[in-house]
């Protein structure tokens, strides 16, 4: 059935084997998953070698694809449209509808491919040490590998159906990995919560895909010869002026709801902090750097749909920017009241995802995608650092206040990498976060969303403050609890005792060696982790430091490589350039060999500089952007695949301002921390107990804005319980009642008649009517005989009578 419809995209643009065969990348971990499941337990390393090898293979392939993509872009004219490399095969078809599976490789794809393969490789290497001796070691690697396969599949997806496939695989793996230690009730509850919350959003994904398919299919089939599921079809359809505003708005909102669920945006962010119940490598890979950006990726992938449907860059705020802005602030505030280091990082992740969404909502597509890229490195590094601390120093506890403190002396490598990543997260120059996050804030302001620029700056302040607090509690001050060498034997540390217990269990079950090494940990006190843990940390920290220079706007245009490589050019192009028919009955292929030519007259737009208000005319013209009408006007003689977006010119004054805000946040937080935790300043300690307003605010935050209570107690109870109760009531009163009730009510009526009418009518008449009623009840009761044959007779009899009535009416 694999009717291959391979094609050469263009004669002008270079391609390469890795680019042409990017679809192999998700296959590698998928095969490895099968190998781990079937043979993993028999292998000397319990299947982990398959996982690590497959991820390294995927990394090599991704790197090759990325390299060849860069070659392709560099080989083309500056600012020209670089056609994605698309391949499709018919996956399945059924009378009229045929679905393809294949690849859609462009700059965004290779970026995310590289990030996912890279972080997955490092996390798997890290897990070799971190989960050594775990009772479900093989299953852990199987799930982790399957997750990578799902995510890579979603990233290379050629159409929405393939994307949904990957998306759901990720959801499943997230569920399995959060609940990895499901013997703890808290863990399995967290897994269920994560699953159900994201599923709530997934309803939007299915709805949105269906709505967009039915709205777009006719246009895409006619114009491009591709189905309404395909990503390039949807993108160009959205900008074609064909869609009715209702259809595209409904589709975009529905898809964005899916993104809210997956990417932990307000108000569905509540699952993400609970998801930290999983092993730390899982938190690092799935719930901070890769899986949770799937929602952001979805928005970036079919960006034109959101651009048109939600009126981005139009007048007034739109849905995406509002949700993003709210998420930034509420999540950052929540990070202040957490004592669990992983929860601080979880809320930080939610907040950073809010930045990405806000950027996308304000037309800052490139900075948002770049933030995915940089954020993955430093957030993965922070999580792995937290894991390193708990693994080697705090006796498997994540409680900052109880079990950490003063660790910088014991764990120099972890400490250094942590500090680098924290600075990157806060957005300090010249760490990577600065180049991406500041760009987002800058562009949001430049696009006219001033309120949201202030929100972004406030978020930067809060980020700096809570990260300083976490750093202080972890690495400075004096060692407390487990990190001071105390050996807990008690089981309870709140929710995360699970990890602790788990460690005991697994060591007990896995024999003497493991147990002995565990005792080593305890007796030697806090110490640095092994090289399998520190090596990934060092690599990630190096990237957290340096990856920002890929798109270092401050140093001029020649440094903006990421923009050049990744951002799709907003040109009106010939529809045949992207029109490859998906397999199909006749394997019809619409002249795919035709090279993509910019439509005549397009050149007239070139060279028109952005209407930059600043004095840096030099800079903006140097950008060499072809100012096209895509996204603003209906394209004639062709299609657009990306809307024209503006880029804020970089100004040191703005960067300086945000830098000041960040340092102010760090400084004030540091002073507060020293006063609170070191000096035990009487004025500050216990302030929340003394001051009612502050106490109320603290309680509000500790209870996470009561959103969980709202969901579980109000919404679930008000929806699920009435349904259950209603069903029970119907069962009890109606279904049972109909038959028995027919008899008994008739009896009651008869009794009533007997008592009241008896005196006035002849006894015999009354008695006979009562008897008749009783007989009716008695005659109906055998109907509920419980016998299958009887039910069959009733069914067919009723059907025959109904059919007979229909026949008589119709003849």
């Amino acid at each position: 059935m694999l009717a291959a419809a391979t094609e050469m995209t263009e004669t002008v643009l270079s391609s390469g084997w890795f680019l042409e065969n990017a679809w192999i990348i998700p296959i590698i971990p998928a095969i490895s998953f099968a190998l781990i499941i079937f043979f993993g337990k028999r292998m000397p390393k319990k299947g982990s070698e398959f996982g690590v090898a497959s991820m390294l293979g995927a990394l090599v392939f991704s790197a090759g694809a990325a390299y060849q993509w860069i070659q392709r872009v560099n080989g083309a004219e500056e600012g020209a449209y670089i056609a994605p490399i698309v391949k499709t095969w018919t996956w399945w078809q059924n009378d009229g509808v045929s679905l393809g599976i294949g690849q859609h490789v462009d700059g965004l794809t290779v970026t995310i491919l590289l990030v996912v393969a890279f972080i997955s490789s490092l996390v798997q290497i890290y897990s070799l040490e971190y989960l050594r001796g775990d009772r479900r070691y093989t299953h852990f690697f199987a799930s982790l590998t399957l997750f990578s396969a799902g995510m890579l599949n979603m990233v290379v997806a050629e159409n929405m159906i393939q994307l949904i496939l990957g998306w759901e695989i990720m959801g499943l793996c997230s569920f399995m990995l959060i609940g990895h230690w499901w013997e703890e009730g808290a863990n399995s509850r967290a897994a269920l919560k994560a699953f159900f919350t994201t599923r709530t959003g997934d309803i939007g994904l299915l709805t949105g895909t269906a709505v967009l398919y039915f709205a777009a299919n006719e246009w895409t089939t006619k114009t491009l010869g591709v189905s309404g599921f395909s990503i390039r079809g949807l993108s160009s359809w959205a900008l074609s002026g064909d869609p009715s505003s209702a259809a595209i708005t409904v589709g975009a909102v529905a898809l964005f709801i899916a993104a809210i669920g997956k990417s932990g945006q307000f108000p569905l962010h509540t699952w993400l902090p609970d998801a930290m119940a999983g092993p730390t490598p899982v938190s690092s890979l799935l719930h901070s750097s890769t899986m949770v950006v799937a929602g952001v990726f979805l928005v970036a992938r079919v960006y034109p749909v959101f651009f048109e449907g939600l009126n981005i860059l139009g007048s007034g705020a739109n849905f995406i920017v509002i949700i993003g802005g709210i998420t930034i602030v509420i999540a950052a505030l929540l990070a202040f009241v957490q004592t669990d280091i992983k929860k601080v990082l979880a809320y930080s992740t939610v907040s950073q995802l809010g930045y990405m969404m806000m950027g996308l909502g304000a037309g800052a597509w490139l900075p948002a995608v770049f933030h995915i890229f940089t954020h993955a490195f430093f957030k993965a590094c922070l999580f792995l650092g937290a894991g390193s601390i708990s693994h080697s120093s705090s006796h498997h506890s994540f409680e900052m206040k109880k079990d950490m403190g003063g660790l910088r002396k014991f764990m120099p490598i972890t400490f250094t990498t942590w500090i680098i990543s924290t600075l990157a997260l806060c957005g300090v120059f010249p760490f990577s976060g600065f180049f991406s996050k500041d760009e987002i804030i800058d562009n949001v302001g430049y696009a006219g969303y001033n309120v949201f620029m202030i929100v972004g700056l406030a978020g930067a302040f809060l980020t700096a403050a809570y990260m300083t607090r976490a750093t202080y509690l972890t690495f400075f001050g004096s060692p407390r609890g487990a990190s001071a060498g105390e050996h807990h034997e008690e089981e309870g540390h709140g929710a995360h005792a699970s990890h602790d217990d788990h460690a005991h269990d697994s060591h007990d079950t896995h024999g003497h060696d493991a147990h002995a090494s565990h005792d080593d940990h305890a007796s030697h006190g806090p110490h640095e982790s092994g090289w399998l843990i520190t090596a990934p940390l060092i690599i990630l920290a190096t990237l957290a430091l340096s990856s920002g220079f890929l798109n270092a706007a401050p140093f001029g245009h020649s440094w903006e490589n990421f923009k050049k490589w990744v951002e799709p050019s907003a040109e009106v192009i010939n529809p045949t350039g992207i029109a490859y028919v998906t397999g199909g009955a006749g394997e019809a292929r619409i002249s795919s060999d035709e090279p993509t030519e910019p439509v005549e007259g397009e050149e007239a737009h070139s060279g028109a500089p952005l209407a930059a208000a600043s004095g840096e005319e030099d800079h903006s013209s140097e950008e060499g952007h072809h100012k096209s009408d895509c996204g603003t006007k209906t394209p004639v003689d062709g299609v657009c695949v990306a809307p024209q977006l503006n880029h804020a010119p970089f100004k040191w004054s703005k960067a300086g301002l945000s830098m000041l805000i960040v340092f102010a946040g760090m400084l004030s937080s540091w002073i507060l921390c020293v006063q609170l935790y070191e000096r035990k300043n009487k004025k500050l300690v216990g302030l929340t107990q003394r001051n009612k307003a502050l106490g109320a605010g603290y309680k509000f935050l500790v209870n996470k804005y009561y959103l969980d209570a709202l969901y579980e107690n109000v919404i679930v109870r008000s929806i699920a319980h009435p349904i259950a109760r209603g069903a029970y009531w119907i069962n009890q009163n109606i279904l049972d009642g109909i038959v028995n009730g027919a008899g008994t009510s008739a009896k009651t009526v008869a009794g009533w008649v007997y008592r009241n009418v008896d005196q006035k009518l002849v006894d015999g008449a009354v008695n006979s009517s009562g008897n008749a009623a009783q007989a009716a009840g008695g005659a109906l009761q055998p109907v509920q005989s419980g016998k299958v044959n009887m039910y069959g007779a009733l069914l067919f009899g009723a059907a025959a009578i109904g059919a007979l009535i229909l026949v008589i009416i119709n003849t």
Partner: protein, 170 residues
């Protein structure tokens, strides 16, 4: 017109086979011996296969013989023997109120007959239509109807697993 058609050999064949099938079907539901019922069912199924041939459906007819008469009937006989039903006359094969079935069946047949007579009156089947080739059929199954085929294969898989799980002793 109808009288002329009756002379056609096909119609004679149909009438004979149909009569055998109806008698066989009636015996299936009335006989008091389970094994006899199964054997009468074979007669009905073979008759159905013959009717399929008349309807220019050779492949389906062959499948009917292979799957039904070959496999399903063996299953029935196994089922009968494993449940140690007496191989012989049983008196209590029917329900107490089996007579309920008669009015239902008659009513159903009357309805169907009226509807069919009304709807298709004297429509004729083409007498010279070519036999449907296996290739045509496979093109249909693995072409436009691939998805139901997939669904069906899952149903079969589920049935296999379900049958094993249900019937194994544990």
């Amino acid at each position: 017109m109808i009288a002329a058609d009756l002379l056609v050999a096909q119609n004679i064949g149909f009438a004979i086979i149909a009569a055998i099938m109806v008698i066989g079907a009636l015996r299936v539901v009335t006989t008091s011996n389970v094994v006899h019922a199964a054997l009468w069912l074979v007669v009905v199924l073979a008759g159905a296969a013959a009717q399929y041939v008349l309807l220019a459906a050779e492949f389906v007819a062959i499948t009917q013989v292979l799957v039904y008469i070959g496999a399903v009937m063996v299953l029935f006989l196994f089922g009968t023997m494993l449940t140690r039903a007496r191989i012989g006359v049983e008196t209590d094969l029917n329900n107490k109120n089996w007579f309920m079935g008669v009015p239902v069946a008659v009513l159903l047949f009357a309805t169907l007959a009226i509807a069919l007579n009304d709807g298709f009156g004297d429509q004729r089947l083409p007498s010279d239509s070519p036999v449907v080739s296996t290739q045509q059929l496979s093109d249909q199954i693995f072409g436009p109807y691939l998805l139901p085929f997939w669904a069906l294969s899952f149903v079969l898989l589920a049935a296999v697993i379900g049958a094993i799980v249900l019937s194994r002793r544990d």
